[in-house]
């Protein structure tokens, strides 16, 4: 899966400047002295004055550069003033709002009917990360994990997909300016080796992820319409709709199963407005109410819909029922040994549960 970092530190990005516009010729441009930054410059600029940080770089695209301003001609920049580059220091790797799903080309993937739980909006251990070509960036990798594993990283148009290539890039001039924080990014070059899927691996940073998400959306989860919202693993806020947890056998193929659900159920007209997330997660085991350190992998399906009021979650509930029915009929062939469903809709006063366990021979 390809995930692309959204913000940049380009010179020509208006939102990177405190005045909300790119500096013009009469302005005095300030980069903060102690803020490290890499800045991609795409075009030529005339300047009156520019203060550079003590550590930083300007990467010049072909034709880009800086000229002295002679004071004579300056349309749309009559006043002039101080324009400051804004602080890119706190942009966190673990902020789900700063990533988007893309194709390997970097083209934006239409979100369609699938979504990801919040932890999986951040690059997972077997994902490919893209920092778009012709852009500069700065990302804080502070993490609860020492090493953040990835399959590959693309930076300024070069894809680094081996540990050696990545190590080489880290020796270069830009890496230290682009990445900071205590987490170390490591490129493995290997995708998920298990056809039953791989857990994302961001669970240790769950609290960090939710804190970043809530900071972006204003501190609190929205008040859910349903009374006892579901708490899917890896998701920050409660949701209305349905979740299904599946136990699987070695025959289970996550990608095939997802395709089957999309083609045979989710794409039915009656489920327009239902969105689905499906992934392998690790559920902490409890024994006599005590959380154990070991965990069991399971397939989690989260279903939400766009129904309102008392109808909230009812389409999701219906789809969940269909999925459970499918499990009952074809579970064994699909590699599913049992399934548990939970539902929270606008009309229910408590969560409803259902389960189906296949008898195993």
């Amino acid at each position: 899966v390809y995930k692309q970092w959204i913000p940049n530190t380009n010179f020509e990005t208006a939102s990177n400047w405190d005045k909300g516009r790119v500096p013009c010729a009469r302005d005095v441009v300030h980069f903060e002295k102690d803020k490290v930054v890499s800045v991609f410059v795409r075009s030529p600029y005339a300047l009156t004055d520019m203060y550079l940080p003590l550590n930083g770089e300007f990467v010049l695209a072909a034709g880009a550069g800086f000229a002295a301003f002679d004071g004579s001609w300056d349309p749309g920049c009559d006043s002039g003033g101080t324009v400051r580059f804004t602080d890119a220091e706190q942009r966190s790797w673990f902020d789900p709002t700063l990533w988007q799903d893309v194709f390997s080309s970097g083209e934006l993937k239409p979100s369609g009917r699938m979504f990801s739980v919040d932890e999986e909006r951040i690059p997972c251990h077997y994902d490919d990360v893209i920092f778009p070509a012709e852009t500069s960036f700065r990302v804080n990798t502070d993490s609860s994990q020492q090493v953040i594993h990835l399959r590959s990283i693309s930076v300024m148009g070069q894809e680094l997909s081996t540990p050696e290539a990545w190590a080489g890039y880290l020796q270069g001039p830009s890496a230290l300016l682009q990445f900071h924080g205590n987490g170390t990014l490591q490129v493995t070059g290997t995708g998920c080796p298990d056809k039953s899927g791989c857990a994302c691996g961001n669970a240790p940073d769950g609290p960090r992820i939710c804190a970043a998400l809530l900071r972006a959306s204003g501190k609190q989860c929205p008040v859910p319409v349903c009374q006892s919202p579901l708490q899917p693993l890896g998701h920050c806020c409660g949701v209305c709709g349905a979740t299904i947890n599946l136990d699987f056998t070695p025959d289970f193929d996550l990608q095939k199963y997802q395709d089957r659900l999309v083609q045979e159920l989710l794409s039915q007209p009656k489920y327009t407005g239902v969105q689905m997330a499906i992934s392998k997660v690790h559920k902490a085991q409890t024994f006599l109410g005590i959380v154990s350190r070991s965990s069991t992998p399971l397939i989690q399906i989260v279903l939400i819909d766009d129904r309102a009021g008392a109808q909230t979650g009812t389409a999701a509930e219906q789809l969940a029922g269909d999925i459970m029915e499918d499990v009952a009929q074809h579970g064994e062939a699909l590699g599913i040994s049992s399934g548990k469903m939970e539902v929270a809709t606008g009309s229910t006063f408590s969560r409803q549960r259902g389960s189906h366990t296949l008898s195993r021979i």
Binding site: P44, L60, G63, A67, A68
Partner: protein
């Protein structure tokens, strides 16, 4: 639209006459203006280094060579005089 275009062209022309730093096919080019300068300034303790070559040292080497050459030219002038004297001596000895 035309006006905008016109503006752009004008802008470019204006900047082209100004001293500037620009990226050209990966080369880093410093152009002085038609009548304006590009200047690099360090403090009294700062150096200017071009690929490990210290520019101030290079300049003082150039100046030192220049003044040594002036000395050598004077000495060489003296040597020209002597050459005439030797010619004179030679003819005198021939006539002895």
């Amino acid at each position: 639209e035309l006006n905008h275009h016109e503006n752009k062209r004008q802008k470019r022309t204006t900047y082209d006459e100004q001293p500037r730093l620009s990226s050209e096919q990966g080369n880093l080019v410093f152009h002085a203006g038609s009548s304006k300068n590009i200047e690099f300034r360090t403090g009294p303790l700062g150096k200017v280094k071009i690929n490990e070559e210290d520019l101030a040292e290079l300049c003082s080497q150039v100046r030192e060579s220049h003044s040594e050459i002036q000395e050598l030219k004077k000495a060489s002038g003296a040597s020209q005089n002597m050459s005439q004297q030797v010619a004179l001596l030679t003819s005198k000895i021939m006539n002895l």
